[in-house]
Amino acid sequence: MVTILGIESSCDETAAAVVIDGRIIGSNVVASQIDLHAEFGGVFPEVASRAHAEAISAVVEQAIEAAGVGFHQLDAIAVTRGPGLVGSLLVGINYAKGVAMMTDKPLLGINHLEGHVYSLWLTQPFREVDFPVLVLIVSGGHTELLLMRNHGEYERLGGTLDDAAGEAFDKVGRLLDLPFPGGPHIERAGRRGNVKSFDFPRAKRDSSYDFSFSGLKTAVMREVTVQPSAATRKGRKKGAEKHAQLRSDISINDVAASFQAAVTDILVEKAARAAQEYGATEIFIAGGVSANQMLRQKMRQETELPVRYPPLNLCTDNAAMIAAAAHYRWEMGLRTSLSFDVRPMWALNNETYHDD
């Protein structure tokens, strides 16, 4: 039996979890900062870092207590090393280094995206995985399409060229005056709207497996806001969507539904096509946007392959997925030294742990 403590602080959730054998969740604690960031309509890095530094002790202690283990009974300490916000990552990393030094247990610096992949191994009841599988990671910070050939073997097929899918949800949510984070609120509004009201563009409808969502956001803005006069346009700055005035004759529900349809169409189309091209046995969807019901439903309709997604509480950032990924890395022999540095732009592919 291998018991691993996972710690995650790459963005706006302070999280800790104890996972046994990479499959059984002993505890899973997440302190969300949503309320702190709501007033900015997005994650404010310095606010996030401060909140992590404040919350980390209580979150980890609660995870240890709820799992009914002591720090000295752990087999390894795993922590998110990147990608993510530097200031946020450093809090979890240094806390983990302190725990690893005091317990004299191995420390593993884990890739956050790989964590999302392994959230799929935490679904109950456990089902064996027959590789290769196609993995679509869609969250506020990432949109990645990967072919996973085995544990730890990833071929990156494509990803977003600009905004992440979840980022598009947040930005359009702000345009529509919906609360942060945009995803769940757009989904709720969209349920009462017509997906065909607006024909928003499906960008990068080409043979590549890359995505682009910033044009879609602009198209929504053009459709739903009062067009600024030439004079005001001159002084316009980046992020102006926050201050754009919403047209009064527009149905927010219809915009939400149509926008959601555009995002999910392109995600589903490319994922299904890639799965077929590479002979995948299953399609895995992970990350915050994988909670979206329209995405799940369309994916099931578009492909005859089984589609897996994590339970809702494991779609968004959590530490159970970090501990689960660490279990497989632990078995592969990964041990990260106490001097390890943060990797804010760390890609997930076959070279991810090359230098470790």
Partner: protein
């Protein structure tokens, strides 16, 4: 045995103190390498001094003001260390730590403790001798050398992070008859031995202060920006 950690600015300082004796102390300028150097340096210092992790009974950390990232590296690492064996974590103001290291040859002198705050600004607090040690007279404030030196009266020792701007400002102020004495470089360095000493004093002061790690929050001086 108390482990003391200071990563508040560009220098890194560590110490081991057993209540009676300073067992080890190291202080050096690291630039922005705290995250890489801190954990292995602590481990190495404990190893060469033959101090086991089980021998640690308390942890002290400078909890600001200072560089936001630097502070969080030290505070997060200290919290992780304290969590494992449920050790008390004692946070000490970075400026109090600095003041604790200063001699007072002349008790009529007050003390100015200085940190760099970037973009030509400094963080300063005043201290005076009270009951045989430096006691804070003002809260830390963000200011500039010129503003600081124009608004003080009397005789001062000046310690901490004094750059060329500071040296020039002090020289000009001296010409205007202010009584300013720049402390020697070794005393100006922020040394964790004094952090350890100050932490011991507070921990044993008998106040009902809560030293659980979850209670410790760095002092930032500014709202997030």
């Amino acid at each position: 045995m108390l482990l003391a950690i200071d990563t508040a600015t560009r220098s890194l300082s560590l110490a081991l103190h057993n209540g009676n004796t300073l067992i080890a102390e190291q202080t050096w300028r690291t630039g922005n390498q705290h995250n890489v150097l801190l954990a292995p340096s602590v481990q190495h210092m404990m190893a060469v001094c033959d101090v086991t992790t089980h021998a640690l009974t308390a942890v002290a950390v400078s909890n600001g003001p200072g560089s936001y990232t630097g502070l969080r590296i030290g505070v997060a690492f200290a919290k992780g260390i304290a969590a494992v064996n449920k050790l008390p974590l004692i946070g000490v103001s970075t400026l109090d730590m600095l003041a604790a290291g200063q001699p007072f040859k002349n008790t009529r002198y007050k003390l100015l403790a200085i940190l760099q705050a970037g973009r030509g600004r400094i963080i300063a607090a005043q201290y005076r001798v009270k009951k045989g040690r430096w006691d804070a007279l003002t809260n830390p404030e963000i200011t500039t050398w010129d503003d600081l030196l124009q608004n003080i009266e009397g005789s001062y020792y000046i310690t901490g992070e004094v750059d060329d701007n500071g040296r020039n400002a002090i020289e000009s102020a001296k010409l205007e008859a202010a009584s300013l004495t720049l402390v020697d470089p070794a005393n100006r360095a922020r040394r964790a031995g004094f952090l350890a000493q100050e932490a011991w004093r507070r921990y044993h002061a008998g106040d009902e202060e809560d030293f659980s790690p979850a209670k410790l929050v760095p002092v930032y001086m500014n709202k997030p920006s």
